[in-house]
């Protein structure tokens, strides 16, 4: 079942390779939407069939390279299933959004189908090497998306992105090898490594392995001070690429913390959880403050991503702090972290697609150049307004559910840090509202050709962005269907980390 979900897009891509590019772009975009929709339907079916016990479901294990301790091991639990669902939803949104794509449609569609397989594969992988293969391929795929379909200084941004994140991935590989060599018998299997806990005791070797894995994941997340690749990559990527980069690829970093760093190195994690908390809070505050200073709409959203991922890092750090706190609070923090990944995936994906609309109409992201767009484009203004409110954590939207749980769960273990992180919410609210105010209110002003006007959302744009917003509202109003899936697994994870 999972393998079908993962490899369906790739199989579709393999079929489409044989179709000549002259067949017309509708063939490619149409089949992309169909495949993405079918994949989402499969994920929904898997969700419905998922047993809420908190264990691994749909597990499958085949030997791959037995003599090197590598197997094809897949499965989902409450930590990964929501992310699989977000990935499938976001790729469908990108497929619909890209119906209007005109530049090199065939290779664009093939690349995104490949990226979908890679992203889904990563969230289902239960073997470190399988995880790494997907992790690395996501970087390669995104490099080509930015370099070929980006704008501005796309080649430099793509190169920075590739070099920086590749450095992270190789640090990750060294950490994985460290885990592999520590286990007896040598294995890369995540489930087996969780069970045997080869680096119990948390001595220097464990600390070095955690350092390597932590740096690798921190680059991808990204947290301060490893975030410098993110703003240029986002600014110069095409809209769909930015949405996937922010919505899916960043989650690979934070997901790595809950899937690999915490359960496989529980003792070392507890020992260094304080450092993680500090990095999280610094990311929250730094991301918010730098976002405040941005004139470029996309760069601003990129820095708010650093801020939002900072909450996740804060939560997973706090979950490792054992001192004087009950397991329930820490479990709440992990649940909040996963909810935040889901919520941020949906909302930032939507925000970047909206930024793409801005660029499509007037080829500029400069917020100072726009004014009063609410007049000519009321739907665009309304949708952007709602997404922004959701993103700053207003009750009734998914962002509130996530951030409330994170802060409530972290307050006990890390009181000062959580209090500081609250400031981040305040700043983010301020800067997002200021952006809304500047772009949409006041006298209408559009850069470039003012007499041509500003066209409102087109059907394909509405159909891709509004469902993401609707999901965020659904989670905000009726969160139980999501939390029921996440909670048992975060309790299991906390059990592993505390023992």
């Amino acid at each position: 079942m999972l393998s079908l979900i993962v490899f369906l897009p790739l199989a579709a891509a393999a079929v489409l390779v044989g179709v000549p590019a002259s067949a017309g772009k509708r063939v490619f975009t149409g089949s992309w939407v169909t495949v993405a929709a079918a994949d989402l339907a499969l994920v929904v079916a898997a969700w419905i069939g998922y047993d809420l016990g908190g264990g691994l479901a749909y597990e499958q294990r085949l030997p791959w390279i037995p003599s090197a301790g590598v197997s094809y091991h897949v499965g989902v639990d409450g930590l990964s299933l929501p992310l699989v669902a977000v990935t499938a939803a976001l790729f469908l949104a990108c497929a619909i959004y890209s119906l209007r794509q005109t530049h090199r449609v065939k290779s664009f569609v093939l690349l995104f189908l490949g990226l979908q397989t890679v992203s889904l594969g990563l969230f289902t992988a239960l073997d470190l090497i399988l995880f790494f293969v997907y992790f690395d391929l996501s970087i390669v795929g995104m490099y080509f998306v930015i370099a070929r379909w980006g704008h501005g200084r796309a080649r430099q941004s793509a190169l920075t992105f590739f070099l920086y994140t590749f450095l992270g991935s190789l640090a990750l590989l060294l950490g994985f090898i460290g885990l592999y060599l520590a286990a007896d018998p040598h294995t890369f299997d995540i489930v087996a490594l969780t069970r045997t806990n080869p680096l119990a005791g948390g001595e220097l070797y464990g600390a070095l392995v955690l350092l390597a894995i932590g740096v690798g994941l921190a680059v991808k997340t990204p947290t301060v001070p490893f975030h410098t690749w993110l703003p240029p990559a986002h600014t110069d990527a095409p809209a769909a690429g930015s949405a996937i980069l922010a919505g899916v690829l960043l989650k690979m970093g934070t997901y790595g913390f809950v899937r690999i760093a915490m359960p496989l190195l529980p003792d070392t994690w507890r020992q260094y959880a304080g450092v993680v908390v500090v990095i999280g809070v610094v990311s929250v505050l730094y991301g918010a403050l730098v976002a405040l200073a941005q004139e470029d709409f996309k760069r601003m959203v990129a820095y708010t991503s650093v801020n939002h991922m900072g909450y996740v890092v804060l939560a997973v750090g706090a979950a490792g702090l054992a001192a004087g706190s009950d397991e329930q609070a820490r479990s709440l923090a992990v649940t909040g972290a996963v909810t935040q990944m889901v919520s941020h995936g949906l909302l930032t994906g939507a925000l970047f697609l909206l930024a793409g609309v801005l660029h499509d109409r007037a080829a500029s992201y400069d917020m100072g150049a726009y004014s009063g767009l609410a007049g000519p484009a009321p739907v665009f203004a309304g949708v952007t307004g709602l997404v922004v409110f959701a993103s700053l954590g207003l009750p009734g939207f998914s962002g509130f559910i996530a951030e409330f749980q994170i802060l409530a769960g972290s307050l006990g273990p890390a009181t000062v840090a959580t209090a500081l992180a609250l400031l981040g919410i305040l700043i983010t609210a301020g800067l997002l509202l200021r952006a809304l105010h500047r772009v949409f209110l006041g006298e209408a002003r559009i850069p470039g050709a003012p007499e041509s006007g500003f066209t409102d959302l087109k059907p394909s744009e509405t159909a891709s962005i509004v469902p993401l917003l609707a999901l965020a509202i659904l989670i905000g109003v009726l969160p139980r269907f999501l939390l029921d899936v996440i909670e048992p697994s975060s309790a299991t994870l906390i059990g592993v980390v505390s023992s």
């Binding site: 391929l137 390669v140 080649r155 590749f166 590989l173 060294l174 060599l181």
Partner: protein, 471 residues
């Protein structure tokens, strides 16, 4: 000893002798028969090796030649690489006045390389060195232009000098260990004067480092890669490395395991120097061949990692053999793309390749990202094993150096990939990206596919290269 154990070697010899005889009598337009014969010799050798894999390891040739896992793996890699090079050379060498000589010399060089792989005696090692070197000097000078002649002369002078150094080292080790056989040396060297052992080892290594093109014996690599014809460049930067590295591994693991000389550190330093200098020099090269030349120098550095931990980790030998196989197909694949586009010597000439030849562009991406070690290509698996071996053997710092170097190498490989996917230049010329013919392109597709297959099906290959050395 039964001659059957040496079938691949005998086949290559017979192929070379028959080839030179046939070539002397054939008219020039029928010399393709010799090419066919050479390919046939490689195929028969491959089949014989395949039959021998899994058999009991044995010592032949009066105990001076081991037929074990490493030898069998070395045979397969060398023969497959030679076959692939023949495929690349068809359009370049076809109907050349020296076609016969080209293929005969190539068979002899392959034979010498295989002898290096199996030698467990210093004198046989020297013989293998000469047999693997002398034909290549001639091959390098086959294109009689200024660049080719200069390269061949440089290659020859350096090879002769370091060959003599190696012979001196063999004499010293013989004096110190009272034997040239590795097994006896291993017993006698721990009691011998350490200074003599160290001098002898360094001198023998000098010759082997020349063969593998590692720092500090690498100065010929860029000249040969740029000056010789593309198939020769591909062969010289790929095949002798296989022999030289396995020979170095055997030498340190079998003759010097207990000697007081700290050879692991020496090899580790050489590995670091090779990776780092190769990468730094590759950074701002503007011609594809020089870029590939320095890339091969840095790749040797990664391969030397496995030699450094030869006696400290059980993973070292499988890692070395797997990486060698992966490197051979991937490097040949990159050269095949160069051979397929003979009028595009510079990186900038590759602009618009993805539009003009999507297949070649895909092969180029697979091979170059393969050389970086991106999964799921073969070199990724090789790097995984080599890093594991290095960390397991207590050389974690060397693995970190290798990782940093890998990132650095990504930069210059991307300098080649990026133009290939950029839009075509405005002053666009049909001729720059005109393909040579279908054979090099076929070679590129084969190599790229093999690189992917070896990576994905590593589970099948890895058990074949895992096995102890003899004795």
């Amino acid at each position: 000893m039964s001659p059957a154990a040496l079938t691949p070697e005998l086949t290559l010899t017979a192929g070379a002798v028959l080839g030179i005889l046939l070539g002397s009598w054939l008219p020039r337009h029928r010399q393709w028969v010799v090419r066919l014969l050479a390919a046939l010799a490689c195929l028969v050798g491959l089949a014989a090796t395949a039959a021998a894999i899994g058999g009991a390891p044995q010592l032949v040739f009066g105990g001076s030649y081991a037929v074990d896992t490493a030898t069998n793996a070395g045979r397969v890699i060398v023969l497959a690489a030679t076959l692939l090079t023949i495929c690349l050379s068809i359009d370049t060498v076809g109907s050349h006045p020296r076609e016969t000589e080209f293929y005969v010399l190539m068979l002899l060089a392959a034979l010498g390389t295989i002898m290096l792989v199996g030698a467990t005696d210093l004198l046989l090692l020297m013989a293998g060195y000469l047999l693997a070197s002398v034909p290549l000097y001639a091959l390098a000078g086959l294109v009689k232009d200024a660049l080719g002649t200069e390269a061949a002369l440089k290659y020859y002078l350096m090879g002769a000098l370091l060959g003599v150094t190696m012979l001196t080292g063999i004499t010293v080790l013989y004096g110190a260990g009272r034997s040239t056989g590795y097994a006896t040396l291993a017993q006698n060297l721990p009691g011998a004067p350490q200074a003599a052992v160290a001098v002898g080892l360094v001198a023998v290594l000098a010759g082997l480092l020349f063969k593998i093109g590692s720092v500090p014996a690498h100065f010929w690599v860029p000249d040969i890669t740029e000056g010789a014809s593309t198939p020769v460049a591909a062969f010289v930067t790929t095949v002798p490395k296989i022999g030289g590295l396995i020979a170095t591994y055997r030498l340190v693991a079998e003759a010097l395991p207990a000697a007081g000389v700290n050879w692991p550190l020496l090899v580790a330093v050489l590995a670091t120097a090779s990776m780092t200098l190769g990468n730094l020099a590759a950074f701002f090269q503007d011609t594809v061949r020089r870029l590939l030349a320095y890339s091969t120098i840095s790749q040797v550095g990664y391969l030397l990692l496995a030699v450094a931990v030869a006696t400290r980790s059980e993973l070292a030998l499988p890692a070395l053999l797997l990486y060698l196989a992966a490197y051979a197909v991937t490097n040949l694949g990159a050269f095949a793309v160069v051979a397929a586009l003979p009028h595009a010597p510079n990186l900038a000439d590759y602009r618009g390749l993805a539009r003009r030849h999507p297949g070649l562009a895909a092969a180029l991406v697979v091979c170059l990202l393969g050389l970086v070690g991106t999964p799921p290509t073969a070199v990724f698996l090789g790097k995984l094993e080599i890093f594991s071996a290095a960390i397991d053997g207590g050389y974690a710092w060397l693995a970190v150096v290798a990782v940093v170097n890998t990132i650095a190498s990504l930069f210059y490989y991307l300098r080649w990939i990026a133009p290939a996917f950029a839009a075509e230049p405005e002053t666009y010329s049909e001729e720059v990206l005109a393909p040579a013919g279908r054979w090099p392109a076929l070679g590129a597709y084969t190599a790229a596919a093999a690189s992917l297959a070896l990576g994905v099906a590593g589970g099948v290959v890895l058990p074949l290269v895992s096995g102890p050395l003899l004795p």
